[in-house]
Structures are given as structure tokens and as C-alpha cells.
Symmetry: C2
Subunit: 363 residues, 2 copies
DNA sequence: ATTAGGATTGACACCGGTGACATTTTCGAA
DNA sequence: TTCGAAAATGTCACCGGTGTCAATCCTAAT
């Protein structure tokens, strides 16, 4: 039986703009309005919205025309309710670096632009006991379409396990293959560390130190391993007393560098595991009365904006963080299209040589 | 008529954890489950959830007990659909400084923690023609509970006008009273500028320059006005050629400072309208071969993290950005409680003296 | 011309709440 | 004890979509 809406029913709906005399954008069109005007059931409209292949081309065209005419957009809340899945993409993060976080956000937003999805922020604290439970309850309540986990949450295996149980999709951003399999964005931090080591060795430095991040971060180990590999290729070794932890923070960097400089045979060059710590090293080096890069060369990692703002500008290893965020979101949304081709996207870092490194003995 | 659910109906629901044998957290309880167990209608449960005063204390207690037992939490999507209002708080921003943005986010998240609300990010671009239309369509689609507008979107009067028409609540963060009335967080940027001017004048500087932000930002004018006021109180004037625009960016700061230093009678001190530009000034001053603070003193504004990371650390004016974000969210949520007491919260800046300023003639 | 089987489309309940309004209680005043 | 208004609670439709499954429409094969 065909849908036989009589003209009276149709008329007043066809002009949502004009309705009500005053109101112009008020009262959005709903799927019912579209169905009535297109003379089909709302279910068929629903099929068109969701790009179901089981709709005749002609019907589809008619409906699309009506949708366009009415400026109809499906209501995310209603869809979420019916599907038991919202249109939210959660960014679950605990990264201490604001720069990192902002760039990841930007990348995700780039990818989400134009889609129906919205980015919601969900900071967390891995040291809290109910850390995983909180995220679970967030998922249960808000039924996010998916989650994006940058480091170091991405390395949280108990969390990943819990997520696999829960009804969410997620993409992790990390520097290594992780135990729990999942789609992920992988960064070759080791190569970055190697690039830093090679750069310093090529400049002629022999006495090189390293300030690394917390041991609980996988990237700490990756970066250091790559760095040591490059040194080895140049016939150098990283002596144990030349490797100090700086917690990935500015203050940690200051303290770590002070420790290094206080040694009987202080380093000519320092590779810091991130820009924050490199910035801290700048301060310590200056306090100790040394010049950068004449007396001591410094290399960072991340290429956050501060790198270009220091004096001299910091030589550092860049990871395309924004692009990574974008790729993560894209990977997540694939599922929405039913296409799940790629499961892993790899990004390589690149060294950006600026003013904080020079050959030893530069006047 | 009482609700007479017979035990059989009640039993299987009472243990959502146990249901299904395997599943533990699956299948959240709904308002219907609560209603059945508490032997009341779902509407009454709804009243309790929404803290309606028209529920007898005893009934309320019973229902609350059941809610606790079941671990029931209302479904945000369903509520949103029925109320035509979601539980999202939108941060609409275009601020170029990541630091600012992150801190505002943190503040908002602080205030939202423990509530049903979620923060969604909505960056925008005021230079786009459909700028306002985009935000309108975001509102129409996602029906956010409210919006928070930091500068410079907060100063966008056409947007504010459109927002008043639309069905959203919003709080603006700005440095001045704005034409369109609305709840807002106000910062006394003028006082901050004055503090900077006073500090430099007190140190004994007479030849002081200013690098200001874009003229389209109200804060630019506020900060400058306060600065000039303080100079006047010290019997000084800001000569026109000593005021240059730096666009609130690092690069702009570099160029502006170069312009100032190239003048026949270069300044002994520079007050930059924000930390980004102050950082740019550091670079220009060094390139020109001057020392900070011995030859030239520099003051910034905002106290972003970079201020403490520079060498020497930057003397700057601090605005409690995180607290401001938190206050903005709190102001917004008042409506949720029906309590709408405050409409304006004012924050005063404070000068943080660090190493980038000294009396002229310091060796 | 018929007919089977896939291609389309529709009917209807339901997702989990809330709004408007009706009905039942409750309790102080008469 | 009785009555009426206020207090408390319930009924039922609806918010705007989607899932399930049944019904109808086609098309090629018989």
C-alpha cells in the first residue's frame, strides 16, 4: 500500500521557514516531515540517511531532494538513543604536555569536521585506583562511538583489556606494538632517537648525555634505544652516569641537567627525551654559565612550538602530532562506513636542525 | 491506584549484575527497572532524578535506595531527546594561544567533573563568512546545554546577537563590559597593564615601549590603556613611535621588537601585550646583541608556562585562566539548578616579577 | 502468462526518558 | 466527622529516530 498523504497534510510542512510567521530557523524538520513530503515511510528515509544499499535509486533521489529542500539533518540524540551509540568521540588523555594535547585535539577535529561526530574531552589520572572504572562508566553512560588514546593511556594494558570487553571502538597512538591488539597509530620513536644520536655524533661530539622520560612510558625506552643504536654505529657508548631521568617535565629537565653538569667530566651534548626537558636543560646550562650551542649542544624531541621560540631555537625531532590525531580519528571513523581496511598507520619522525647544536669547540 | 507489580516481574530485574550469567556490567538498569522495584511510576522516578520538590520524603528515600542498589544512571541521550536539550557544554574558541585554550579547558573540566555534562570542542574561524551560521547549525543539531566563549569570540557581537535568538545559554569571558548583555567572566586587563607600567616605572625606566595585540581585540585596548595610565601617574608618556602592533603572535613580536630597536632612540624596556609577543621580543633583542635584563627589560602578559621556561624567566602579568574557565562553567551550570544568582564574576590580574626586568644601567 | 526469489518498502514496537494534564492522597479547617 | 485545596503520584502521548520482520514489487525463468 502506498503512502497516500493528502495535500493538506503536506502543505504546512513543506515550508518550515515560513511556519509560525516569525520563527525562521526554529523548529527543524524531522524525519517524519521528510517522509510525508517524499511519500514514503520514515523507515525508508532512515535507510537513505544511513546509506543503505537497499533503496531504489529513484526513491533515493526523491528523498534526497526533499531532505535538501527542507534542510533536514537527523537528530543525533534520537539516533543515539535508538542505536544505543552516541556520536561522540572521546579523547582519553593524561599527557602532561599541553602542546601535545592541543595538537592531537586539532588533528582529531580536522578529521571530524563535516561529520556528525563531536569531540569530547575525557582527561584521566592513571594513578587513581578507579581509573579504569571511571572510563568504563563514562562509556556506559555516554556510549561514545569510539575513543582515541594517546600516550601514555595508550600503553595502559588493563585499560585496553577493559575496553575490549566494553562496547567501544578505540584507536591507540603509541610508539610500539602493544600486547593487546587493536587499531593504532604507531610512531617510530626509535628512529627519532637514532636521528638525534646520529646528528650529534656527526657534529663530532663524543661525550654525549641523555635525559630520558619516566620508565613507565614506552616511548622513553624507544627513544633511548634508538639513540644508543646510533651512538653505537658511530662507535660511541652512552655511559650509565650520562643517562638521567627527567620525568618528561621542565623541572625534571632542570634537575637532570644539573646532575649531568655537576659530574667530573660533563657532557658536550645532551639529548633530551622531549622538548620540555630540553627547555629545562637550557636553564640549567645557563645557570652553570655555559653557552648554547658553543659549549653545550642540546637536542629535544617533539618539536612543540616552544622549540622555535627559545633562544637559540631548539634542534629537535618532530613528530607530526596533528596529523597523527587526524589519522587516529580517520581510522576510528572507518568503521562508521563499514570499511575497515587499515588497522595500523605508521609515522616517522624527522630531525629539525636549528640553533642549539654545533660542532664541539665552536668559539 | 497503586502500582501492583507482582514478585515474578520484579525478581529477574532486581539483579542486573547477575543477569546473563557472564555479563556483569552489561545491560544498565533503566528508569523502568527502578520504577518497578520501587513500586512507583517512572514519572515519579523521573521527578526524583530531577530533584523535583513535589515528592514525599519517604518516596524519595525509597527510590534513591533502589537507584543506589541498581547503580542506575539516567541515559543522557534519552533525556536529551525528551527535553530537546543535550548535556553538552560547547567551548567555542578561536584563540591562537594553545596555552590559553588548554587552561580554559582544564578549568571547565574541573567544574564539569561529577556532573552529567560533557565538554565538546567547537573551534571556529571568525574570518569565515558563515562563521555565525556554522555555530547556529551546531546549536540546532546538538542542542548544547550551553556555550562558553573565551576571547576573542566573546567579543563577537553579531554572534552574541544570534545566540540570544537561539535557544542556548552562554557565558562570555572578556576584559570589558560588552554591548550585548549576558552572563560573563570579566578580567580587569586594564589593571594588569597598569601593574606592568608601574613596575617598569618603579624600576626607573623612562624610555618604555609597548607591543600590543590586534586592534580588533578589546583586550588590546584595555591593556594599553591601563599601561598608559600607570605611565602617566609616573609622569611618563608612551610616545606614538614606541607603540607597535605584534598581532599577539610570536612572529609578530619579533618583528615589532625589531622595529622598536631600529629606532634612533631604542627603548630600555618593553611591555608586550602577551607572552607570545614577549617571547618574540626576546629573540629580536638577542639578535640585536642586547642582554636581558641588563640592557633591556621585558614584561609579558598571561603568564603562560613558557614564561617560566625562558631564560631569564619572564616577568609577566598573570590571569588565572584555569580558574576563569571553571568559573565560567559554574556560572553556566547555575541555570541547571534553577539558581541564577550571579551574572558576573570578576578576576584581577597580578604581576609576577621574574628575571626579565631590572633597573636600567644594571651591569 | 505464471511464478519463484530477490529487491524494496512499510508497519510497528521500542530506545529511555519528559511534558501536560488527570487522578488520588493527605491534611488542616470547618 | 466532613470537605476542599494543596500535595503527591500516575497516565499517556511523544521526543526523533532505528531494528525486526512482514508485505509488496519486480525481474528473469518456466
Amino acid at each position: 500500500m502506498k503512502y497516500e498523504a493528502d495535500p493538506e497534510d503536506v502543505e504546512p510542512i513543506s515550508a518550515p521557514q515560513a511556519a509560525g510567521g516569525e520563527a525562521v530557523l526554529r523548529g527543524k524538520a524531522t524525519i517524519n516531515d521528510v517522509a510525508r513530503l517524499a511519500k514514503v515511510s520514515k523507515k525508508t528515509v532512515s535507510r537513505v540517511i544511513n546509506e543503505s544499499p537497499f533503496v531504489k535509486q529513484k526513491t533515493r533521489d526523491t528523498i534526497k531532494a526533499v531532505i535538501a529542500e527542507l534542510g533536514f539533518t537527523p537528530d543525533p540524540q534520537a539516533r543515539a538513543l535508538a542505536r544505543r551509540k552516541s556520536f561522540l568521540v572521546g579523547l582519553v588523555y593524561d599527557n602532561p604536555s599541553p602542546q601535545y594535547v592541543v595538537n592531537i585535539q586539532r588533528g582529531i577535529l580536522d578529521a571530524l569536521e563535516g561529520t556528525d561526530f563531536q569531540l569530547v574531552l575525557h582527561p584521566c589520572d592513571r594513578s587513581k585506583l578507579d581509573h579504569v572504572a571511571r572510563i568504563q562508566s563514562f562509556i556506559q553512560q555516554h556510549k561514545p562511538f569510539g575513543l582515541i588514546l594517546p600516550p601514555s593511556v595508550s600503553e595502559d594494558e588493563p585499560l585496553a583489556l577493559a575496553l575490549n570487553e566494553a562496547d567501544v571502538d578505540y584507536v591507540r597512538i603509541a610508539s610500539v606494538e602493544l600486547d593487546t591488539p587493536s587499531r593504532m597509530i604507531r610512531t617510530l620513536d626509535g628512529d627519532g632517537g637514532a636521528a638525534a644520536g646520529r646528528h650529534l655524533a656527526d657534529l663530532g661530539h663524543r661525550n654525549i648525555a641523555h635525559i630520558h622520560g619516566p620508565l613507565s612510558f614506552r616511548s622513553t625506552h624507544e627513544r633511548r634505544a634508538g639513540f644508543e643504536r646510533a651512538l653505537a654505529e658511530a662507535g660511541l657508548v652512552l655511559r650509565p652516569e650520562m643517562a638521567v631521568e627527567g620525568g618528561y617535565t621542565f623541572e625534571g629537565g632542570v634537575v637532570a641537567a644539573e646532575l649531568l653538569l655537576a659530574q667530573p667530566n660533563p657532557p658536550q651534548a645532551i639529548f633530551a627525551g622531549n622538548d620540555e626537558m630540553a627547555t629545562g636543560a637550557y636553564v640549567a646550562v645557563r645557570r652553570a654559565g655555559f653557552r648554547i650551542p658553543e659549549d653545550i649542544s642540546i637536542v629535544g624531541f617533539d618539536d612543540t612550538p616552544i622549540a622555535g621560540r627559545l633562544w637559540p631555537a631548539l634542534t629537535t625531532v618532530r613528530l607530526p602530532i596533528r596529523e597523527m590525531g587526524s589519522a587516529a580519528a580517520t581510522l576510528l571513523l572507518q568503521t562508521a562506513d563499514g570499511v575497515t581496511t587499515k588497522k595500523l598507520i605508521t609515522f616517522s619522525p624527522e630531525i629539525i636542525v636549528r640553533g642549539s647544536t654545533a660542532a664541539p669547540g665552536t668559539p
